[in-house]
Symmetry: C4
Subunit: 211 residues, 4 copies
């Protein structure tokens, strides 16, 4: 029994498990590294309380950037999670597209720091949104591979597959919107990411699934 168990555990089917695990670890590390770029203010001993509060308020853009990126990466993880739950067969063709998605996610802390260090400026916010678009496209491409044979599970419901793809497409359209908005009104760029659920709704309507 132990022998067969172990054969199953390390056999080719295990490949999917290990790829998911590796991706989860990368997502977890990226999401946690975001805070490293926020340096704690160090004030002269005995400074008045007011100075400490001011030093914190000055870190406002950094904190905002941290939270936006934390949830953006968190939702990318949740999407990866959802897509992978539809897969049940490992394919070596998954490796490279998955690595490309992870590389784009791993570079997010740089673009977060670039936008936070130069708040309200056009180029950093545009780059942030453009990079998000890169990640969204790579994510959508991986979802396409995962929700098609030979990777997709035979028991995955077509409804769930359609919803997963729609969500992926909505992130692409939302990032595109944010990128366009950031060119005109820079500070509205990251706010425009909130159009992602609207795009999802629109796509759902368009496909005739109103719920």
């Amino acid at each position: 029994m132990a022998e067969r168990e172990s054969t199953v555990a390390h056999g080719p089917e295990h490949g999917l498990e290990r790829m998911i695990f590796f991706s989860d670890a990368v997502f977890a590390i990226v999401i946690t590294l975001l805070v490293i770029d926020i340096h704690a203010p160090h004030l002269p001993f005995g400074s008045p309380d007011r100075d400490y509060w001011i030093s914190l308020i000055n870190l406002g853009p950094e904190f905002l950037g941290f939270f936006i990126s934390f949830f953006v990466i968190g939702f990318f993880w949740a999407g990866h999670h959802r897509a992978m739950s539809l897969a049940s067969h490992y394919s070596p063709r998954l490796i490279f597209p998955n690595l490309m998605l992870l590389a784009s996610v791993a570079a997010m802390p740089f673009f977060t720091a670039f936008a936070s260090a130069n708040p309200m400026m056009r180029v950093p916010i545009f780059c942030y949104c453009a990079w998000l678009l890169v990640a969204a496209v790579l994510n959508r491409r991986l979802q396409a591979i995962v929700t098609h044979p030979p990777v997709v599970s035979e028991t995955a419901s077509p409804e769930l597959i359609a919803v997963t793809r729609e969500r992926g497409t909505a992130v692409v359209l939302g990032s595109l919107t944010a990128m366009a908005v950031s060119l005109i009104v820079p500070w509205l760029g990251q706010v425009a990411l909130c159009t992602i659920p609207l795009w999802r709704l629109a796509l759902r309507r368009f496909a005739g699934r109103p719920r």
Copy 2:
């Protein structure tokens, strides 16, 4: 056999497993990143032994902050651990509250470094305790979702559920106490976190479960 195994492993039930895994990874990374903010002193070659000891003693507040936060985050992890062991059904409604808890935990190294870099000062210690309160509230909220249907396991003992919730509430009350104390006597703030077990005892008495 291999096929069915793999369907089970990647099916919807697997969602809980992957969420726990992702959370564990975030807790582990945060707890390990704490030490990064303590920079090793670099003295001129041939400095007398005494200077090395002094340079270490000067790092006292940093070390104290590291150990306090290490165990605070360690106990948050243990609590997450305990709560999740009561769950057996995945629900997409877990994703966002769990991400919020993880975001609050991921920001702990910043508040630890802020309090360590400005030892004995009111605002940094107050912020540390206030942020702990935020994490404690988000933790309590996640525990409420986990210990209710549809997530809770049918075989989880009501006693264990009650104890888990009490522990979560005790952390909220202890952080609140620490926050209040830090306003009056700053350096006592983090010490007041030791009231957490007292609150747990009080809640247990109040609920009529004296053991």
Copy 3:
């Protein structure tokens, strides 16, 4: 049942699983730490768009280095993945060779940063390629242990074992080529890593397996 399950899970067969897991985590952390060395430019508020673009273009070598190392480490991970899927018996003799491979991978961010900080220079690129050769040799050595008794699975196909070893050998030969090229034309060094698939093809031909 729970008892037996748990005995299986923590028994000696579990050793392989835990070693794979530990290695995956190290690969994931190294791959994500690469981006930390790219510091986001911080420009005076209100700088013209052009200055932001220039500051990004100046980071070109750092980004190129990040992506090359990301995929180099990613493929090392995929190779580790492939080799380990052929194993089904744990042996304490795996621990040290695996730790040596992980140590060489963990040092990659240093050599990446060294080559990126001094672009086009002979010594940093030579060191990068030479270190890659060290990692490739340690990788090939681990593959040899994994694809021989007592570690190798009885059900692993001889064809797959041969292909895995060939791939490992191709990485050694490709790194050696890159090292030699970097001595003559430094900037071509990392480009010469693209000979790895050619070496693989050549080895396959040589072994009489033309597909």
Copy 4:
């Protein structure tokens, strides 16, 4: 079936699995963070090859420190690994001793950097060895809990339990030796860690198991 599987997976027995996982992640992160403290030299463009080699040679103590700590932590991980493979019952009494061991391991990068930044000096090397002793004692204490009821597996061989404890004791004695040596001849301190296998041999002889 899926239901029962999932109950097993998240039931109380799962606690051990999750604690092992969390510990593995902490070990993996600490081991990988060691390299972060080695900063890549950045020379003026066009510097002669010789200057690059000199800048690398100057990093010698940092590299030596990295490799020593990498293998020290790697062997701590392997020991944790070996001890935990003897356990099969989760106990909440494991949480705190395991967190203490992890805290001591997580602080190793600081002591490594302190010793590397001040090479050949008595205090940093003494502190490194003394901290290793702390970690070794906490490790030995955890092993004692793991190899006794209620945690130990009923099927664990008494021989394996004795060997595991001996190895833990040998690390304590070796760290103690290194600490004593570092007081007299500082640079020999870390070298004296090589007495660990000798202590293991001596303990084995003493217990009458000469192989």
